[in-house]
């Protein structure tokens, strides 16, 4: 269901006009009302008058997470602090947290984009939404809460954790919509199985999962175990929280609510814009935010954009589910390589387990990539020629996907160190 038909199906031309108008207003406010942004724009030699069209956005400087932290707590504020109605922050596990300050209007926009998110997965006023995202400074809990309220659904604000209680509430109140992280949904499914709960007998029908990367395989698993349709939703505290983009009922790429959040894909190395379909770093600008506007935030999330029209009728650009992080990206002989691409190739091959490690070395000024793959029982052969054939086959497939040569080396199982289930995937031995 399309929540806001007017804005979600706006013609591309009218959308661009709206985006231009909003960007101009945003840049004016940031320049005039915020010394940090003014300093950045002056350093880049850009004035608000230089923005004549949405495409002029590329003239504006990027902002990074590190810069946002530097100006903690109020440095991004571009309005009177008395107009702020609510504050959220990132967890701050890797440093000072990033602050998201919302005016009353910002909270309305947040409710609006979250209503779109939940509605695009079929949520209506008749639904009972079990919101197992954490409530508090974290944006997940209240984001979903506001969206569900806006739709008029019944909210069960259970927050995260206490799985037994989650199952009890789900059963007793007849939850129809579940919102949590994808990994927690599987945890609930497992716990439910132990409690002998038959999810097919519960009225659950949709789930909205985000806040961490997941895969198509995980979707299949969640849908099978919980008997619901699982939707990927995307957002981040630096921008607004959840509500930046979400899948529609076709579950084919995530619609970006680009009347509020303008997405770009850039080459993380050069900062140059990349065309549709090419993987790169997602950059987002909050076109309508008042409290803490964000101009060209480098998300470090890797994805690509697709401007082709979706069959659902929405006209917005769509993004692929997050494919990885630029922190994991390797540049090998000038080519960007993401571990997720390699994993994709390996998973396609019969008998190959996704246990791999990438080793990069530089010899005589040239980069060499070695992909170490653990030998599973399924691919082990007593004959060298069969194992070498496997290696060659993987090398060929990797070359087709990465466009560079990677040497494949078979290693013993468990040779790749695992810590807390998360394997160390990259060893970069290059000394630059």
């Amino acid at each position: 269901m399309i929540w806001n038909r007017e804005f979600e199906t706006l013609s591309r031309k009218r959308l661009a006009q709206l985006q231009t108008k909003r960007l101009q207003s945003l840049v004016r406010k940031a320049y005039n009302g915020n010394p940090f942004y003014r300093g950045k724009m002056d350093a880049a030699g850009v004035k608000p008058t230089h923005i004549k069209d949405i495409s002029d956005i590329v003239k504006l400087p990027f902002i990074t997470k590190a810069e946002m932290r530097d100006v903690y707590p109020y440095g991004l504020l571009s309005c009177d602090v008395n107009n702020i109605a609510e504050i959220h922050t990132s967890s701050g596990t890797t440093g000072k947290p990033v602050v998201d300050a919302y005016t009353k209007k910002d909270l309305e926009i947040w409710s609006e984009v979250m209503a779109r998110t939940l509605a695009s997965g079929g949520t209506t006023a008749k639904d009972r939404v079990q919101n197992a995202y954490g409530y508090g400074l974290f944006t997940g809990g209240l984001g979903v809460h506001y969206g569900a309220r806006k739709i008029g659904a019944m909210v069960i604000p259970i927050s995260g954790g206490n799985t037994k209680r989650q199952l009890q509430i789900m059963h007793d109140f007849g939850t129809t919509v579940l919102a949590c992280t994808p990994s927690y949904s599987l945890y609930i499914a497992e716990a439910g199985k132990e409690e002998k709960i038959d999810f097919s007998k519960l009225p659950l029908r949709s789930g909205f999962f985000g806040a961490e990367p997941w895969s198509e395989n995980m979707r299949k698993e969640i849908e099978e175990k919980l008997h619901l349709k699982a939707f990927d939703i995307y957002g981040l505290t630096e921008i607004i929280g959840p509500g930046v983009a979400a899948e529609c009922e076709r579950q084919d790429l995530l619609h970006v609510y680009e009347d509020h959040f303008f997405p770009e894909i850039i080459d993380p190395g050069t900062g140059e814009a990349l065309p549709d379909g090419e993987k790169g770093e997602l950059v987002i600008t909050t076109l309508s935010k008042e409290g803490t506007p964000v101009v060209r935030y480098r998300t470090r999330d890797i994805t690509y954009l697709d401007h082709s029209k979706c069959g659902c009728g929405r006209t917005s650009v769509r993004m692929h589910r997050i494919l990885g992080r630029t922190d994991d990206m390797l540049i090998i002989r000038g080519v960007n390589v993401f571990p997720s691409q390699i994993e994709e190739v390996l998973l396609r091959m019969e008998g190959v387990e996704p246990q791999y490690q990438l080793v990069v070395e530089r010899r005589d000024n040239l980069d060499y990539l070695e992909v170490q793959v653990e030998v599973s029982d399924a691919i082990f052969s007593d004959e060298i020629k069969n194992l070498e054939r496997r290696e060659k086959q993987m090398e060929k497939e990797l070359h087709e996907a990465l466009l560079i040569h990677a040497k494949v080396k078979l290693v013993e199982p468990k040779a790749i160190a695992r810590s807390e289930g998360k394997a160390k995937r990259i060893i970069d031995k290059r000394v630059l």
């Binding site: 082990f380 007593d382 004959e383 194992l387 078979l410 013993e412 468990k414």
Partner: protein, 143 residues
């Protein structure tokens, strides 16, 4: 006529063989014959042992990738020219050999040649028809 052989995947790293040897020792498994095939990256250790099923189990438990498969064991007299006799016989009959290794018995003047053929059944047929004695699994274990 097929003899059980155990194959272990090994990385070319110091200490890996010693590790396998220790596990066999701790489980009182005796190695009758062995060979290592290697590339620049990895090796395959092939062994004839007195307790192949147990070896398979304990090595797997220790995290190795292991496979039980079969080879043919031909008992031959330990004399010059015998290796040629067998090889030329195989050649004449288009028997493709994947690999071979041998072992000399201590208390007799006999030797055992272990062979892995592309077509094992045909090889058994040709060898027995030409008077070669193929050992059975129990016989090899008793050596």
């Amino acid at each position: 006529m097929n003899i059980q052989q155990i194959s272990v995947f090994l990385e070319n790293k110091p200490g890996r063989l010693a590790n396998v040897a220790l596990i066999l020792k701790e489980n009182k498994i005796n190695v009758r014959a062995l060979t290592i095939a290697d590339t620049s990256d990895f090796g395959i250790l092939r062994m004839i042992v007195n307790k192949p099923e147990q070896a398979n189990e304990v090595l797997k438990k220790a995290g190795f990738t292991v496979k039980l498969n079969t080879v043919i064991a031909v008992e031959i007299s330990d004399r010059e020219g015998i290796f040629y006799d067998i090889m030329s016989l195989c050649d004449k009959n288009d028997l493709n050999i994947e690999y071979t290794y041998s072992f000399v018995e201590q208390h007799s003047n006999m030797a055992i040649l272990f062979l892995r053929f592309e077509n094992g059944d045909k090889a058994i047929d040709v060898l027995t028809k030409n008077g070669y004695k193929l050992l059975r699994d129990e016989e090899v274990r008793k050596i």
